[in-house]
C-alpha cells in the first residue's frame, strides 16, 4: 500500500511533499510528543499528530516515516511545508480526531 492509496481511501488532504506519495506504508504511529516518536516509531509508518512545527519534518526524516497526518483540521506551518517538499515526505490532513483517523488507518493496514 502506498501513501497515495491511504490518501484516496481515507479521503485525506495533501498539503505538500507530493513527491513522496509513492512511498510504501508499513505501519502507523499516533503521538504528539516528538521525543516519543523519535524513540518508538517504525520506518515506513504514517504518523498521526496535531503538531505542525517544523521539527516534525526532522523527526519524519530521521525515522524514515512514509508520511504525516495532521488531525482536527490543523495545517502545517510555512517552513514545515518547505521542508516537506525538500524531503519528499508528504504532510496530509483530516478534520477527524486522532482516535478516529487512527482507527481507520489501523483497519486499512491491519484489518485485511
Amino acid at each position: 500500500m502506498t501513501v497515495d492509496d491511504v490518501v484516496k481511501t481515507l479521503n485525506l488532504k495533501v498539503f505538500c511533499g507530493e513527491e513522496g506519495l509513492s512511498r510504501q506504508v508499513e505501519n502507523g504511529y499516533t503521538s504528539d510528543l516528538l521525543s516519543d516518536v523519535m524513540g518508538h516509531a517504525d520506518a515506513g509508518s504514517i504518523w498521526i499528530t496535531l503538531q505542525s512545527h517544523i521539527n516534525i519534518m526532522a523527526v519524519a526524516s530521521l525515522k524514515e516515516l512514509a508520511g504525516i497526518v495532521l488531525v482536527k483540521g490543523n495545517k502545517p506551518d510555512e517552513d514545515t511545508i518547505r521542508q516537506s517538499n525538500i524531503e519528499g515526505i508528504p504532510i496530509l490532513g483530516t478534520d477527524l480526531e486522532a482516535f478516529e483517523i487512527s482507527g481507520r488507518l489501523y483497519q486499512l493496514i491491519r484489518g485485511a
Partner: protein, 245 residues
C-alpha cells in the same frame, strides 16, 4: 561590575499548582532571606502578580522582572521576561487573546487567586491558566522579542512540558536568549547530550511552587546593574558580562 543572584522562575498563588503560601509578601520575604538580588514571578500564562511583587520588593533592594511561564501550542513551557509595565500589559493582552475558553475547577487543579500587597484576595481567575495557548512557539518568541523581552525555554530537558519532550530537540531556527536546564542537570552533561547546540547561555532557576523551594537553585549574573538589558548582554557574554551556574 558585580555578581547578582537571580531566581527567575517562581510561581505564586495565582498558579493553580502553587502552594497558597506563595503570596507576593511571602515571596519577597523568602527572596530577602535567601539573599537574592533579582527575581521573576512567572505564573502559568499570566503576568498579573508582577506589579505587586515589584512594589513589595523595591524597599528591600530586590529587582523584580515581570513575566510568565507560557505554555505554547506545542505544550512547551517557556519563560517570557520583561522590564516595564508597558511591556507587561502588552504581553498580558497577547496571552488573554490566545488563552482558550476552558475554565478552572479549583477542586481538581487548585485555586488561581490574585492577591494584593496585604495578601487579600482581589479575584479568582476563571480561565484555566495551565491550558496551552493558541499560539505556536515561534509566534510566542516573535511576540516576546517584538516587545523587547527575553525568551527562555523552561526546564528544556525535563521529560514533560519541555521543548525537548514536545519537539524532540531544540529547533535550530528558534531564537531563544538562553535555555533553562532542569535544576538537577549537570550543564556539561547537557551539552554532551545536545552537541548540536552552539554555545547557548544555560541558566537554572528553582521553579518554586512551595516556599521551601524558592532560591534553592539560582544563577549568578556578572553584570553592571540588575536590568533585563544587562542580562541579555550577559547571555551573549558582551564586555566581560557573563552567566555563572
Amino acid at each position: 561590575m558585580r555578581t547578582y543572584r537571580a531566581d527567575l522562575h517562581i510561581h505564586s498563588v495565582l498558579s493553580p499548582c502553587a502552594d497558597l503560601e506563595m503570596s507576593p509578601r511571602n515571596i519577597v520575604a523568602l527572596a530577602k532571606s535567601k539573599g537574592l538580588d533579582i527575581i521573576a514571578v512567572t505564573d502559568h500564562n499570566s503576568t498579573l502578580h508582577g506589579p505587586v511583587v515589584r512594589k513589595l520588593a523595591e524597599p528591600h533592594g530586590i529587582k523584580v522582572l515581570f513575566g510568565s511561564e507560557v505554555t505554547t501550542r506545542e505544550e512547551a513551557h517557556c519563560l517570557c521576561l520583561f522590564e516595564t509595565e508597558v511591556q507587561r500589559l502588552a504581553f498580558q493582552q497577547f496571552i488573554e487573546i490566545n488563552l482558550p475558553d476552558v475554565y478552572n475547577d479549583p477542586d481538581r487543579f487548585g485555586y488561581q487567586v490574585e492577591v494584593n500587597e496585604e495578601d487579600e484576595i482581589i479575584q479568582q481567575v476563571d480561565k484555566l491558566l495551565i491550558s496551552a495557548l493558541n499560539a505556536g512557539i515561534n509566534e510566542v518568541e516573535a511576540t516576546v522579542h517584538r516587545l523587547g523581552g527575553l525568551f527562555i525555554p523552561a526546564h528544556v530537558d525535563r521529560p514533560m512540558f519541555s521543548l525537548i519532550s514536545q519537539l524532540g530537540f531544540i529547533p535550530p531556527t528558534l531564537k531563544f536568549d538562553a535555555l533553562e536546564i532542569f535544576r538537577n542537570t549537570d550543564p556539561a552533561d547537557f551539552m554532551q547530550k545536545n552537541k548540536y547546540l552552539q554555545n547557548p547561555a544555560l541558566i537554572k532557576n528553582s521553579d518554586a511552587h512551595y516556599p521551601q523551594q524558592l532560591g534553592t537553585v539560582v544563577t549568578n549574573y556578572m553584570i553592571h546593574e540588575p536590568t533585563l538589558d544587562e542580562m541579555a548582554k550577559a547571555f551573549k557574554q558582551e564586555g566581560g558580562r557573563k552567566v555563572v551556574l
